[in-house]
């Protein structure tokens, strides 16, 4: 399937291994990525806090660019924060025709010919995996089951709350998808307290101690639950959980060594890619150093 692909800023900035592993794994999933390289930052909630209409207009511009991609079935992102921030803007744009007209009038001035039409489908990779590709089809693509790999799901706030805005209900249990994907890849889901909690990243410049206490607590809980690694669909969570892990360890006063994988990296491993192709060695807590791959992931990938 062809998708209008929004990688976000951080996946091309401080966590380049995320964008890289997405590009590596996309062909294996049958996803054709058409990057929205003309689009601006989603604002991550901070722009909306500054000026709501500004965030709504910049995201309307992104949505309009996505709607212009020929043959794209939908827009896809790889960042919980982009998903949440964009869903919030889209809810306002879709809810009120007069407001949409006002935003489109600004777009007409800034990019003549660009206009957002209500009703774009914008899905995080996680949602796309379960709802568009399907767990059965995903299972069939697995060439190296993650047998014995104990994975703790860490969703990130923006992709699980508010539930109504994100369309989470009994029919679409989007707050269980990460669990389901880990299982489909052959891994074992670890139940620990941090699954739906906040990584603390949004306040890392405002209250660093509280921020890192959150990250450190969840990492410690995952260690207590004997997880081999965490998997996150959000690069901002990754920054606080991986890049800041040594500092978080100091804040919570216990040693931490918990590898944190981006979702496309976990997918790539199971679909037969090598750790190096997925840049697993670029993390602060190297998964290749912490996980015993000889027992956690069984040997070389099976032949296709």
């Amino acid at each position: 399937m062809r998708v209008a692909y929004w990688p976000g800023c951080v996946s091309r900035g401080f966590t380049p291994e995320l964008h890289g592993s997405m590009e590596a794994v996309a062909p294996l999933l049958g996803i054709e990525l058409v990057p929205l390289d003309r689009a601006a930052c989603c604002g991550a909630g901070v722009l909306a806090e500054h000026n709501q209409e500004l965030a709504d207009t910049l995201n309307a511009r992104t949505f309009a660019l996505a709607q212009q991609v020929d043959g794209a079935e939908l827009m896809m992102n790889i960042c919980s924060t982009c998903q949440g921030a964009q869903s919030e803007c889209q809810e306002r744009l879709d809810a009120n025709a007069a407001y949409r007209a006002q935003v489109n009038a600004t777009l007409a001035e800034s990019d003549p010919g660009l206009s957002y039409e209500k009703g774009l489908t914008n899905k995080n990779l996680l949602w796309l995996l379960v709802e568009e590709i399907g767990l059965e089809a995903l299972r069939a693509k697995v060439r190296r089951p993650l047998t014995n790999l104990r994975v703790g799901p860490f969703y990130g706030c923006y992709i699980v709350r508010p539930r109504r805005l994100l369309g989470i209900d009994a029919e679409r249990p989007r707050d269980r998808y990460l669990h389901q994907v880990i299982e489909a890849l052959g891994g074992t889901v670890i139940d620990y307290a941090g699954t739906y909690k906040c990584c603390g990243f949004p306040i890392v410049t405002m209250n660093k101690t509280a921020s890192l206490k959150q990250a450190g607590t969840h990492l410690g809980d995952a260690m207590d639950a004997q997880a081999d690694c965490l998997v996150v669909p959000c690069p901002l969570c990754h920054l606080n959980l991986d890049l800041q892990q040594p500092l978080a360890a100091k804040v919570v006063g216990r040693p931490l060594a918990m590898p944190v994988l981006h979702l496309p990296q976990l997918l790539g491993l199971a679909l037969g890619l090598e750790p190096k192709q997925l840049a697993l060695g670029k993390h602060v807590v190297k998964p290749s150093a912490v996980i015993d791959w000889s027992t956690a992931v069984v040997g070389a990938p099976a032949a296709a």
Partner: protein, 359 residues
């Protein structure tokens, strides 16, 4: 009638026995509430089972508890829904616990005074009149008052406080309920102390900039108050209208973010961090507080560089949109920020005029 199992987390302060789980079987109609189930157990089985309640109609805010791990009013939650959406696959078990972030006094009763009410008092929760006080009533434009009705819907049940993730790690955080109460007066055109209220909350290290934006309070609130959205309004008015440059880097972070997206189109992380500490310009990184932060972050930066995660030259240059798109982004800024009045759409007030499709 239907059979249900109630699993209750209990605590008895007199025996100093730690919290323990107790299971009760009961028979009630599915449309009955979780509160009615608890009261049924208290009447029939164990008169010592503690819960606070009064109106039984979701307006007094007394019976806040956690049902199946989520904050809720016990009187406002039907057994049918709680059992079906519960944690147990049998579809008939309902788990009831006391709220979080507050000390448990007994069973399902928490100490609201020690946490929730103390924080409410902290924000001066009454009107500080503009002078002169009119002889009769204040005349206020309808639209100005409509803006605070969302926060006036709060019934002080404490559900948002229960699940606040910032408060979980920083008990001193003013918290969602009190911050929403603060906005109720900051947004009130009759109040004279808007700047002082905002400065107080912006400068407090546990004030409005301590909210980690996790949305838990929005989902917790049974009345649609959306405390987190009120905190964002407080930040917006504090930073953009009153230019309160707080000691917590809150205003600087927001301004730097907006400036960098204007200048680059994308987020320039390596510039955002020093500017959040040192001030919103290229020179921000030379400010002493940015320097201190840099020194503290050096080990993390060094590791990221050593791993090849971040290439220094590339990180410092940042990524930037092509000129044509950057011009378009700047035009959007010009139009929107050039408006005489900031436009804000609150769906709580305006409603959804057409059926909105799922994202």
């Amino acid at each position: 009638m239907a059979d249900y199992t109630l699993r209750v987390r209990r605590f008895d302060p007199q025996t100093t026995r730690g919290p323990y789980w107790e299971r009760f079987e009961l028979e009630l109609e599915p449309h009955r509430s979780v509160l009615e189930a608890v009261l049924d157990v208290r009447d029939r089985v164990d008169g010592s089972l503690g819960i606070r309640c009064s109106c039984r109609a979701a307006i007094c805010g007394s019976c806040g508890v956690r049902v199946n791990g989520r904050p809720a009013l016990a009187c406002n939650t039907r057994l049918r829904d709680a059992a079906a959406g519960g944690l147990h696959p049998d579809g008939r078990t309902v788990v009831v616990e006391p709220m979080g972030n507050m000390p448990v006094l007994k069973d399902l009763i928490v100490d609201m005074d020690a946490v929730h009410w103390k924080k409410i008092h902290r924000v001066t929760p009454w009107l500080l009149n503009r002078r002169p006080v009119p002889e009769r009533e204040y005349l206020v434009p309808h639209d100005d008052m409509a803006d605070v009705t969302q926060t006036m819907a709060c019934i002080q049940c404490g559900a948002c406080v229960s699940d606040c993730l910032s408060m979980e790690v920083d008990p001193e955080f003013v918290g969602p309920a009190a911050a929403a109460k603060a906005y109720r007066f900051v947004g009130d055109p009759r109040d004279a102390e808007q700047p002082a209220r905002l400065r107080d909350l912006a400068e407090d290290p546990h004030g409005i900039y301590d909210c980690t934006h996790c949305f838990n309070c929005i989902d917790a609130c049974p009345k649609g108050v959306a405390p987190m959205s009120q905190i964002m309004r407080l930040r917006r008015i504090s930073g953009s209208d009153h230019h309160i440059v707080d000691r917590n880097n809150g205003e600087r972070h927001e301004e730097a973010f907006a400036t960098l997206v204007h200048d680059y189109g994308l987020l320039h992380e390596a510039e955002l961090l020093p500017r959040s500490y040192g001030g919103n310009s290229w020179f921000g990184k030379f400010h002493p507080s940015a320097g201190m932060e840099l020194v503290e972050s050096l080990p993390a930066i060094a590791r990221a560089v050593a791993r090849g995660k971040v290439k220094p030259a590339q990180a410092l240059r940042g990524h930037r949109l092509a000129k044509r798109d950057l011009d378009a982004v700047r035009k959007v800024y010009d139009v929107v920020e050039g408006r005489a009045r900031r436009s804000e759409l609150n769906l709580y007030l305006s409603g959804v005029e057409e059926e909105a499709p799922a994202p």
